[in-house]
């Protein structure tokens, strides 16, 4: 499993695989199964292989986190910037206007 940025396996595939994750009960049964692989149906056969990889689904969750962090970080950064840099003048204005109102004195000095 090649891992550099979490992009090597398509995100959709990771998501699909995670949805396939067996329950504890199912996982136990799959592990206990010692018969021939071809006796199982295709889905079970695939899961049996996955379950035999140690922490396969936890590893997939790591990849998912890698991907989500990259994506969310840039959009959150942008949202922060929008909330702060630009609207801030407007917010500051409103504050200054109110200050002006409260103290009924001169225009606030900006230094």
């Amino acid at each position: 499993m090649l891992v550099e940025s979490g992009n090597e396996i398509p995100t959709e595939l990771i998501q699909t695989l995670l949805k396939m994750a067996p329950t504890q009960d199912e996982e136990l049964k799959l592990r206990m199964f010692t018969g021939e692989l071809h006796e199982l149906g295709p889905a079970e056969r695939f899961l049996k292989v996955l379950v035999d990889i140690p922490f396969a689904f936890k590893r997939l969750e790591c990849l998912m986190f890698m991907h989500n962090l990259q994506e969310d970080f840039s959009s959150i950064k942008e949202s922060f910037a929008t909330l702060e840099v630009r609207p801030r003048p407007c917010l500051l204005f409103l504050s200054h206007v109110i200050t002006l109102q409260v103290h009924a004195c001169t225009w606030p000095r900006l230094t």
Partner: protein, 296 residues
């Protein structure tokens, strides 16, 4: 930097100042005269208060006032900069038209109609879902801890020394930094938004959060509409009055402020009729004008 931003949206401040002054005039005596009593929603109500003609709103009046003062200001700035750059040119020929009320008004209109653009980012901010932002940040923080836990326990015990493990360790270094930054920033920015919202909502204890931007956005939409209406009526007045008004001006080079006070515009006459109580105590911009000139 904050100072730069402030200057950029000086107009918005101006507008609010006018709004507040007007609000005070309307509620003289009853207005509790403090921030605690003022709610930002008041901005939106400005367009509900109608004049005696049942059409012109208080916001029209406020916009009209600002157009007047901004126009004078813009003309003054332009004249000042030109007298520095080109002293001996023949610009004097159009001096007469530049001093006219129509000229001030059109200059003012230009400035005011730029307001919507100036604050376009408020609209963008209004679209941000604050709750979703907060929950995404905490979800990422949770995932980070879970991943770290997995690497420290399960993967360590496995002792496989795989490429997966190496890559994850490297990734976690930057992930920790990014998540930590986001958690801190989220706290800081939400606090900033909240403290400002508290200001306007009188610390009602209600977490208004980003609703602030929604109100400002709605206000800007109304404002944009009013500006266009004022522009249309101003143009009509200008056309009508330019043909009939031929009185010679008596004062030679009096200041623009003094001149505009001497000859009130047709539209301000109209507003005097529409909002008699306010017009009697005309908004005095000259004080704030001069002081913020020095400030910037």
């Amino acid at each position: 930097m904050a100072c730069n931003d402030l200057r950029e949206s000086r107009l918005f401040l101006k507008l609010l100042e006018a709004v507040l002054k007007t609000g005070n005039r309307m509620n003289d005596g009853t207005y509790r005269g403090g921030a605690q009593a003022f709610r930002l929603d008041t901005l939106l109500k400005l367009s509900d208060v109608k004049g005696t003609d049942g059409k012109t709103t208080l916001l029209h009046f406020v916009v009209q006032e600002i157009i007047r003062s901004e126009g004078i200001r813009a003309a003054r700035t332009k004249r000042a900069s030109r007298s520095v750059t080109s002293v001996n040119t023949s610009d004097d020929s159009d001096e007469g038209s530049e001093d006219s009320e129509e000229y001030y008004r059109s200059m003012g209109l230009q400035v005011v109609s730029g307001l919507g653009e100036e604050l376009a980012d408020v609209k963008k901010a209004a679209l941000i879902d604050g709750d979703a932002l907060t929950s995404t940040v905490s979800k990422l923080g949770h995932s980070l801890m879970k991943t770290q836990d997995f690497l420290d326990k399960d993967m360590k015990n496995l002792e496989e020394d795989s490429e997966f493990q190496g890559s994850m360790e490297r990734f976690m270094v930057s992930a920790r930094q990014q998540v930590m930054w986001m958690v801190e920033e989220e706290k800081r920015i939400m606090a900033l938004v909240k403290s400002t919202a508290d200001y306007f909502h009188g610390n009602a204890g209600k977490d208004e959060g980003l609703r602030l931007f929604l109100i400002v956005r709605d206000f800007l939409i109304i404002l944009d509409k009013v500006c266009r209406e004022v522009k249309d009526t101003t143009m009509k007045f200008a056309k009508a009055s330019s043909s009939s008004k031929k009185e010679p001006r008596t004062s030679s080079v009096s200041s623009p402020e003094a001149r505009s006070q001497q000859s009130p515009t047709p539209s301000s006459d109209l507003h005097r009729k529409l909002f008699p109580a306010i017009a009697e105590r005309r908004m005095d911009y000259s004080s704030s004008d001069s002081s913020d000139d020095e400030d910037f």
